[in-house]
């Protein structure tokens, strides 16, 4: 299956699709939260919409001597990074830009998140937000290298940094089958750069919300929506790079991409309720001493297979 680039006019539709998938994930999370609280799960489904309506009517909070341009950049940046990520992710046979360096592009966009989260923490001139921003950078030092090497595995296997080639190479056998470690590490990395689930210490409640502490109204909506959008974009990339993208029987290719994205996203949302939040300083040792060597071993296996196959 080859991937073709579509016209620029489809960009707004891709953005709407990403937000719809992100909203669906937030709705699932709301339903699970409602059920855990003893209410019927249907009561939690409209949470993203109710929360949006509430935040749209909320007054904007401002702090003394805030760095407004930097705060605004950080808050809006997460959503923009997520949108730029999906630019290279093909939906079945169509993609917005089949860059020859698509995987590096995705990586660069997830590094932009470092800057944006820190800026969102720095901007309000508030101690809780600032500590949250620094927590994220500390966490980033742990997750980024394993994430980068996990991204390298599909690139080595496909012999290309182009996502179209990565999808084509998975004809018959998905990469997740022979690079499960890279897949798992990548999924954890997605949760980590989304400041979400077990990796949400930078926005933790024990820090009065951390990077979210001083944001309200539209500002807060942008950060929250940006986190869900990052999670959705990361899941779409995982579905493409490890789960065969549009490959699959019976259903059309674009639907397969959506189904696989939804599956990864649902798995992340379900797992979140089973896992505690990890403190960034506790993450460093296992990340560098266990996860990084494991990913490198995975990469070695992939490289040996590729060389052996000729």
């Amino acid at each position: 299956m080859s991937v073709v680039e579509v016209a620029v006019g489809w960009v707004p539709l891709a953005a709407v699709l990403l937000l719809a998938v992100a909203a669906a994930a937030a709705a699932l999370d709301g339903a699970l939260a409602a059920r855990a609280a003893g209410r019927p799960w249907t009561a939690g489904l409209p949470v993203p919409w109710l929360e949006t309506a509430r935040l749209l009517r909320q007054r904007r909070r401002s702090t003394v001597a805030a760095d407004r341009p930097l705060a605004a950049t950080g808050r809006i940046g997460l959503l923009i990074a997520a949108l730029l990520m999906v630019v290279v992710v093909p939906l079945g046979p169509w993609t917005l830009a089949d860059l020859s360096v698509g995987i590096v592009w995705f990586n660069a966009m997830d590094v932009l998140v470092w800057a944006f989260v820190w800026l969102a923490g720095w901007g309000p001139n508030s101690v809780h937000a600032l500590v949250g921003g620094y927590r994220f950078l500390a966490q980033a030092l742990s997750y980024e290298l394993p994430l980068m090497f996990a991204l390298t595995a599909p690139a080595v296997a496909a012999g290309s940094l182009r996502l179209g080639d990565v999808v084509a190479e998975q004809q018959g056998l998905w990469f997740v089958v022979w690079m499960p470690v890279a897949f798992a590490v990548f999924c954890a990395g997605v949760a980590a750069f989304s400041v979400w689930g077990p990796f949400a210490a930078a926005a933790g409640p024990e820090l009065a919300g951390g990077v979210l502490a001083e944001s309200s109204g539209m500002d807060r909506w942008l950060v929250l929506a940006g986190r869900w959008a990052l999670l959705a974009a990361g899941s779409a990339f995982a579905a493409t790079a490890f789960l065969g993208g549009g490959h699959g029987p019976l259903l059309p290719a674009w639907l397969w991409t959506l189904v696989k994205t939804a599956a990864v996203l649902a798995l992340l949302v379900l797992l979140r309720r089973r896992l505690p939040t990890v403190r960034p300083e506790r993450l460093v040792t296992p990340a560098w001493l266990v996860v990084l060597p494991l990913v490198l071993l995975q990469l070695l296996v992939v490289s040996v297979v590729v060389v052996g196959r000729g």
Partner: protein
């Protein structure tokens, strides 16, 4: 035509953000003005049909500036880094050195007779870059990366002779009472 417009816009952004680095009064703004400048340069590389180098410049420079924010708190203490401050010192000497360097480089760019292209660029630039780096230039790259890493570690050790691992021990579980600094535990 479009390429020209994009180039000039990126060039203007890069220079303007570069000037902003020295004009703003906050470390955070200076750091991210520099990041914007580098991102503009990285995107300009895309116009040379060097997508890998362009995207990697964006990736590395944004990461570097984020790390800069860590160093800024580590080594400047809380107050100077977080308060408004001037971004320049040693103005005269710095101005002289940078003007001279700029003049030299600009003169070189303008007056050196550039050779005309003799061969066509390789089809797959990413692959040929990889082969250059991992093949004939392998020894250089390996040496440079080790030297760079040693420099970073050495600079950190010199700049931070008594970090928290010195004061609190390997497991960070030691005492760190005010006034107890003289007889720190190992």
């Amino acid at each position: 035509m479009l390429d020209d417009v994009v180039f000039w816009v990126l060039a203007a952004v890069a220079v303007a953000a570069g000037i902003a680095v020295f004009r703003v009064d906050s470390m955070a703004r200076a750091t991210y003005a520099l990041a914007v400048s580098f991102v503009a340069v990285g995107l300009a590389l895309l116009l040379f049909d060097l997508p890998y180098l362009g995207v990697v410049v964006v990736l590395m420079m944004v990461m570097e500036m984020a790390i800069m924010a860590i160093y800024m708190i580590m080594f400047m203490g809380m107050n100077p880094a977080l308060m408004p401050m001037s971004m320049v010192h040693g103005k005269r000497a710095a101005l002289a050195v940078s003007s001279l360097t700029f003049g030299l480089l600009a003169a070189g760019a303008l007056f050196v007779p550039w050779p005309s292209r003799r061969a066509a660029p390789a089809g797959d630039l990413v692959t040929s870059l990889g082969q250059a780096v991992m093949g004939s230039k392998m020894l250089v790259m390996m040496t440079v990366s080790a030297v760079l890493f040693a420099t970073i570690v050495a600079a950190l050790v010199l700049a931070l002779p008594r970090g928290r691992y010195d004061r609190l021990g390997e497991d960070l579980q030691g005492d760190d009472l005010p006034g107890d600094d003289q007889e720190h535990r190992r």
